[in-house]
Assembly symmetry: C2
Homo-oligomer: 337 residues x 2
């Protein structure tokens, strides 16, 4: 359809810069130098490059299908997001194609190409843990497909995005433990190369500092899997001054902690309180039930889809990307109170 | 593409019979009367109807995409099936489009239409709990798309299918309890309108009978959700002669049973042994770990995809549908031994 047209990739190749730099230069992104912006815009004009909004309006016929690229559907959070997406989409007469990257960059690229060739009308994306190059997503925008990112966003691409406030949620979770009398709170931290891992740790530290407590580096342990949590908990129990609370970066690690504690005869929450993160399917089947953060997956999916459908059904001349930050709340259950 | 061609629906309308009857008549299915077969074949000849194999071979260009219609991706079993599908498909250079019916007939129909209009090369299907009319699936076959059913199959449609032996798996689970000295085994049964619910109950009954034990109707309770399992367990404990083992139709109900038992101070497995079904994510996070049936979701997905790819890559003149029955095995853990 647009095979004979000039693309962002052509401009990038000629100037010897990356497609995402071209994309941002065309959108007047503050991170791009004036020099680059001028070069890109001059060449775009010369080659008669058509920006997305125009490409979009040229796309007369809709397939009434939207694509979703999701890391792992086995996660309860992501499957809740999909439910939210589908309910809004089907209500509006759209069908949903789901693609799983399975946390692999190569599959995410294959998914993007497939969605483009199948002419979906727009795409909802949450990137894989491996993804550091975003040309395949720029390619979708270039093909006239509006993108909406959710949860795992790409700051380098100008697009709508829906996220939750991880830092605030972690702060709330830790503050809850402090308000219930805990003074030595351990944190099972997620990978620090992921924004969500850093944000959750920062929220934890903010609550500790605000309460005038001392952050103890020995109480912060990298543990984002069930197995790591078993080891980490046993390690904490060998300390001269063990913790009286644990804030875990996800529910599976919180459950690992609970089981290790219960095996040693430690009472939850009386001796050590435990809080998880994500309100998955597990929180209701532990004994006691697990206090956890509700990530509002369903709401995230439905809000992202509303934004996308709005782009499709009421296209506007000026594209002002929006960021929606959903507030995550803590569901207090027996493990912490 | 084939809009001007005669379809199975046309033949059905003219003869006043259902499209699936026409489909079966054309395939010489033993359930269809000779009279109907003759009528259908004569009309098909007269109208120059082209059967699927021909339609398939006429389909010169492939999209290298296969579609999957699945009831609920939130189930660990189905997400394992998807992993198996994707690994085989991507290895062969195919991309996978996943559609969730969310157990709704309407969405399943919308999914089928969408997959047809997006020209996928073939479709893997497990039907929703609501689906009793199969015209949308016949439509896919008619459109030249090979179908492979998995887990929840449609006996009325002639197609490849991959299933597990639910009756045998339930038999093994119950026999295991008997071999470990249990004599009064309760069964939390699934919905009896579903084949898998009936098969699991039958396997349970066969093991009981074979061991020369008496099947007690009071020990068979409809309980396929976590909440129902809590109530059912408490009910069993009020009996004068409570059970010494429970075989539950799924893992969530087994976990409900375990929690109710533990709350009343009953030791698992010493006093009452518990076995679940499906080997989901939960079996490893209970204390003790849950004995359960491994449904081989990954294998089911990969086998179904191999069959489909074989249809696509080595189409044959004669179509002999195949049924693959995977043997489910019991994973024995602490809850029963």
């Amino acid at each position: 359809m647009r095979s004979s047209q000039v693309t962002i990739k052509d401009i990038a190749r000629i100037l010897g810069i990356s497609p995402s730099t071209v994309s941002r230069a065309l959108k007047n992104h503050p991170d791009i130098s004036e020099e680059t912006k001028v070069a890109v815009n001059e060449l775009a004009l010369k080659l008669k490059y058509q920006p997305n909004a125009v490409a979009l309006s040229l796309k007369h016929s809709r397939s009434n299908t939207i694509g979703v690229i999701i890391p792992e559907i086995v996660h309860y959070f992501f499957s809740s997001v999909i439910s939210g997406i589908e309910d809004v989409a089907y209500e509006a007469g759209f069908t949903v194609i789901i693609c799983q990257s399975n946390e692999k960059y190569d599959r995410e690229v294959a998914n993007a190409k497939m969605l483009l060739s199948h002419r979906v009308d727009g795409v909802l994306v949450s990137i894989s843990k491996e993804t550091t190059n975003f040309d395949h997503l720029v390619m979708l925008q270039e093909g006239g497909l509006p993108l909406v990112f959710f949860d795992r966003i790409v700051p380098e691409i100008i697009a709508d995005q829906v996220i939750i406030n991880d830092e605030e949620a972690a702060y709330k979770a830790t503050k809850h433990l402090i308000e219930n009398g805990r003074r030595r709170i351990a944190h099972f931290a997620g990978p620090q190369n992921l924004l969500i891992g850093r944000d959750r740790k920062e929220g934890y530290l903010r609550a500790i500092r605000e309460a005038g407590l001392q952050a103890d580096p020995q109480l912060i342990i990298d543990a984002d899997t069930y197995e790591k949590a078993l080891i980490a908990t046993n390690h904490l129990l060998t300390m001269d001054n063990p913790p009286d609370g644990i804030f875990a970066t996800n529910d599976l690690t919180a459950i690992g902690a609970m089981q290790s504690l219960q095996k040693k005869g430690i009472k939850i929450p009386q001796q050590i309180a435990v809080v998880g993160f994500s309100d998955g399917r597990f929180s209701g089947i532990t004994e006691p039930n697990l206090t956890s953060v509700d990530q509002h997956g369903y709401e995230m999916g439905s809000v992202a889809t509303e934004i996308l459908l709005n782009r499709l059904l009421s296209p506007s001349e000026t594209y002002v990307p929006q960021t929606r930050v959903l507030s995550a709340n803590l569901i207090v259950r027996g493990s912490s109170k």
